[in-house]
Symmetry: C2
Subunit: 132 residues, 2 copies
DNA sequence: ATTGACCCTCCAGTAACTGGAAGCCTCATA
DNA sequence: TATGAGGCTTCCAGTTACTGGAGGGTCAAT
């Protein structure tokens, strides 16, 4: 199978597939003409990677998950540990963003949004009283 | 004032201050010895930038906000527009992360996390039934 | 033989810094 | 006066995970 087929079947773009090969996530063979030659298994792995990336796992996490996926002797606690750590980081990000949202919502509400220069948003960002 | 002092007073690290000069956010003079020479105004601007960055505004947003901050003829609607657009993007990110969290929380709960290989997390990521 | 759709590699750019190397400058102390 | 610590300078590279583009082979069909 050529890269285009695999891309369609896995949902991962050709550029990204080549990149994943570069960083050693997948190792397709080569045909005589130099084209990458993929198997069904590669399609599965790429779909796996696409899904993991969509859940926000880093590439390094994906590398780990993929090796566990292929390891018949894995222990589910290993997988769970990766997922839990990732979940923690997602929750951290959510909290940070929510705090930003709270502040911004407040500022946006307070700003008249008219033709006058006075602006609570700038006032909040500014460490000193705006001159004039 | 040297860069170290400004860094302490504004809360922005020296490296970042130099970077901000590189990209034209601030323009300190130079002393005879080649050191950057900052004023109180630079401290204010940097604190402004630090706060804006903490609220998640991009550097380009910061550039816009800074120019509005310095423009006595600004209209608050210009500031508000930038903030509202940023707010929208933050809300998008939050939603995306919350959806990831929902899925991950569910998967983590379902995973035994023991010494056996069976794992609902991998099963979810995998497009096919795990063999054996 | 040519066309169009593939495929290849390599290079650069993204965002916003951060770390480090190599080398002046300055000030206080021995 | 020498020296050492700490601060300042520039420049280069690395981070994350791709993405776009240039320049150029390959293949199948007309």
């Amino acid at each position: 199978m050529n890269i285009g087929d695999v891309a369609r079947q896995s949902g991962v773009p050709p550029k990204t597939i080549r990149y994943y090969e570069d960083i050693g996530l997948i190792r397709p063979n080569r045909s005589e003409n130099g084209y990458r030659a993929f198997t069904e298994n590669h399609v599965h792995k790429l779909a796996f990677l696409g899904r993991a990336r969509a859940l926000g796992f880093t590439i390094e996490d994906c590398r780990t998950l993929l090796s566990l996926y292929e390891d018949e002797n894995r222990e589910s606690m290993q997988v769970k540990a990766v997922a839990e750590e990732h979940l923690r980081q997602i929750e951290e990000k959510i909290e940070k963003l929510q705090s930003m949202r709270t502040t911004l919502t407040d500022l946006v509400e307070k700003c008249a949004g008219d033709h006058r220069p006075d602006c609570p948003i700038l006032a909040d960002l500014s460490p000193v009283q705006l001159s004039e």
